[in-house]
């Protein structure tokens, strides 16, 4: 049963299995275990980022292709839901239409970029995605009539997903284990379930024959071509799939935030965050995405406070407070990133599995 849910790709390490179980239980029961606006918000962000990072890992870890447009696809999904909800009215139909349209647009765009660049060399893809993604980001902030520009869009969710919607009045007196049963809780479980199902789907994909071919291409594309697999087709297919799932992750994020804007969905910083999560968790394994995203989001929320304290500690020393200020968080992430690419190319999961 478990084996078939996980598509035969078991954690293969006791510590890893324990960690994954803790994360799964923690996320599944987050509103009850850690009641509080900020903690539930963190849990929802972790769900979305696990899915987003997993979809990126399909491309980077399995396909061996670096993309810098993953936030663009993420943003397309988010804006799809936002536009659908603000033009079609608040309803579940609008969410699904928006998410579907976003995923479709993302896949088509990925197909075009992929066909143009991947047929020549895989490194073209990295450069072209960088160019296209930045052009799209500028375009979104300029077309303010449609996208709200820099301010972004706020929109209304279906009533059932809002905090004003209460349920279970008769059965549980409106509360379960001291947690108010309202629409915000439903919204969390909407995000959680969506992320879980899509993650398991990705796990299925990478353990299918298609995923094996991708691995073969990553290890030696020349030989894979010689055996008779059209490398371009497989890479482009992986790109499209990954873009579509990223767009769906964006849709979930939009549903949770009830807001989209260029800063939250399209920025280059977000792209760097995704890269870090993949590398720290471990490229080429879906579980790496779970570990990486969880650690990273937790660190982002709670470590910056720590850096602020450390910066205060060195008050008066010339450059140190500047180096340690919470705004320079990216500096240390960059250093960590380089070090982990050198010394832990397989990431935390690779270490735990006792790989090379």
């Amino acid at each position: 049963m478990l084996r078939s849910i996980l598509s035969g790709d078991l954690p293969r390490s006791t510590v890893l299995a324990l960690l994954l179980a803790v994360i799964l239980v923690g996320l599944a029961l987050a509103p009850f275990l850690f009641p509080g606006v900020r903690t539930v918000d963190t849990a929802a962000r972790i769900c979305v980022f696990i899915l987003l990072v997993a979809s990126y890992d399909l491309l980077l870890g399995y396909g061996g292709v670096v993309s810098f447009a993953h936030t663009m696809f993420f943003g397309i999904g988010a804006y799809g839901v936002a536009l659908a909800l603000s033009h079609m009215g608040r309803g579940f139909g609008a969410i699904f239409v928006g998410a579907g349209a976003g995923a479709l647009v993302a896949a088509v765009l990925a197909l075009l970029i992929g066909l143009f660049s991947l047929r020549v060399r895989a490194i073209f893809f990295a450069m072209i995605t960088l160019a296209v993604a930045s052009a799209v980001a500028v375009l979104v902030s300029q077309l303010s009539g449609l996208t709200g520009g820099e301010d972004g869009l706020t929109f209304k969710l279906p009533r059932e997903l809002g905090p004003a919607f209460k349920f279970g009045k008769e059965a549980f007196d409106g509360k379960l284990f001291g947690v108010t049963l309202n629409g915000k809780l439903l919204a969390y479980y909407f995000v959680f379930a969506g992320a879980l199902v899509l993650f398991l789907l990705l796990l299925r994909v990478v353990n299918s024959p298609f995923g094996r071919v991708l691995l073969a291409i990553r290890e030696n594309d020349f030989r894979a071509e010689a055996i008779g697999y059209r490398v371009v087709y497989y890479r482009v297919a992986a790109t499209c799939l990954s873009a579509a799932v990223a767009a769906l992750a964006g849709s979930l994020y939009a549903v949770w935030l009830r807001y989209v804007g260029p800063e939250t969905t399209l920025s280059m910083e977000l792209m760097i965050d995704i890269l870090l999560m993949v590398v720290i968790g471990g490229m080429g394994t879906m579980y790496g995405a779970v570990i990486g995203a969880t650690l990273f989001v937790l660190a982002q929320n709670y470590l910056q406070t720590l850096m602020g304290a450390a910066s205060g500690l060195f008050e008066g020393v010339p450059i140190l407070p500047d180096l340690l200020s919470p705004d320079r968080w990216l500096l240390w992430l960059g250093v960590l990133f380089i070090l982990s690419v050198y010394f832990f190319p397989t990431g935390i999961v690779g270490r735990l599995r006792g790989g090379k």
Binding site: L60, G64, V66, F116, S117, R119, V120, A122, I123, F124, A126, M127, I128, L130, A131, V132, S134, A135, V138, L139, Q142, M268, I272, L275, V279, I319, D322, L323, D327, R328, L330, L331, L333, G334, V335, F337, I338, V341, Y342, P345
Partner: protein, 343 residues
């Protein structure tokens, strides 16, 4: 015994298309200029736009040339190249601000000395940083494209953040030196002096680079190394050392480009290198990775097109470069002047 078949080779005249083929990339630039003249009704604004397009193209070329050579020589793709642009701009602008009295004086000589000092300082700084970058960040990941992209991207982030630590997060405004302010009028068109200087500097750099690559021994080794590195090593040249030299020179040129770009925009930010990277990549791809000439032509095309389109239809300027790249990749998938690798 039968007689040998008569040997009568026939020399077919090459068709016009075949003869034009190799020159097509070179002809694209004048073609674009003519198209611009047709699309823009007033000659004076066309002239202004052409000069600013050429100036922009030259600056992009200076920044991009190092990247393309580094790739051609060692198959190293450096996503951190933009960091050198930022460093160059910050060091150069800091020197110019220090020499504020010299740049504010209305004397051409003093101004030029100040700019020259700034450029030299910037190139020295970026050359040194380039050397360290190569040693620390790039060297451990030779021959591994995926890791190169990741690690150099990480390097770019670190350098960008260090710039913010050293110079503060605010953008820095810089006025051009007195003698380079203003414009001259030619045929009814106002041509900014600074842009003319940028065109001249770009031309000088291109010609000097071509001279070094075509006429000197070191250029010969570099060109041979691009085509077949193993053979050059087998002949007894330490290609690694040549490569480090090219990396340093490329970084220094990016620094020069950074100073020029900063003076062109009259404002510098830590992210400017990252933004320049986007244009640099487009130029390098359409030119053909590894080709200096292709890079030059690509840079001019991008600069001109961006200026023409921005004048005709401001909203479309963003996409025009991407459209150009798509068109060129459809025509020649490896770029306009693909580098032949003997592998």
């Amino acid at each position: 015994m039968t007689a040998a078949p008569k040997h009568a080779p026939k020399m077919a005249e090459l068709s016009l298309a075949d003869r034009l083929g190799p020159w097509m990339p070179v002809l694209l630039v004048p073609l674009l200029v003519v198209l611009g003249a047709l699309a823009i009704p007033e000659t004076s604004s066309w002239l202004t736009l052409t000069v600013s397009g050429l100036a922009m193209g030259m600056m992009i070329f200076i920044m991009a040339s190092g990247l393309t050579l580094v790739f051609g020589l060692m198959d190293v793709i450096n996503f951190g190249h933009g960091a050198f642009v930022s460093i160059g701009a910050f060091v150069g602008v800091s020197i110019l601000l220090l020499l504020g009295q010299m740049t504010a004086a209305p004397s051409l000589g003093l101004n030029l000395i100040a700019v020259l000092l700034a450029v030299l300082g910037a190139m020295a700084a970026t050359g040194a940083v380039g050397w360290a970058f190569e040693k620390v960040i790039v060297m451990p990941v030779y021959g591994h494209h995926l890791k190169q992209i990741l690690v150099t991207m990480g390097g770019l982030i670190v350098v960008e953040q260090l710039i913010i630590v050293l110079w503060g997060p605010e953008e820095i405004y810089i006025a051009r030196p007195e003698a380079l302010k203003g414009a001259i009028t030619f045929a009814g068109a106002a041509l900014e002096k600074y842009r003319l200087v940028a065109v001249a500097v770009g031309l000088v750099v291109f010609i000097a680079m071509r001279f070094v690559l075509r006429r000197t021994k070191i250029g010969l080794i570099v060109r041979a190394g691009v085509q077949n590195g193993e053979m050059v090593q087998a002949l007894g040249y330490r290609l690694r050392r040549v490569f480090v030299g090219v990396f340093i020179a490329g970084s220094a040129l990016a620094g020069l480009g950074g100073v020029m770009w900063g003076l062109y925009q009259e404002v510098i930010t830590a992210q400017m290198g990252n933004q320049a990277m986007i244009l640099i990549f487009i130029v390098v791809i359409i030119g053909g990775l590894g080709s200096v000439e292709g890079c030059f032509i690509g840079a001019l095309l991008v600069g001109l097109l961006q200026n023409y389109v921005a004048f005709l239809e401001p909203k479309a300027a963003l996409i025009s470069n991407i459209a150009l790249m798509v068109a060129i990749l459809m025509w020649r998938p490896m770029g306009m002047i693909p580098v032949v690798k003997a592998k």
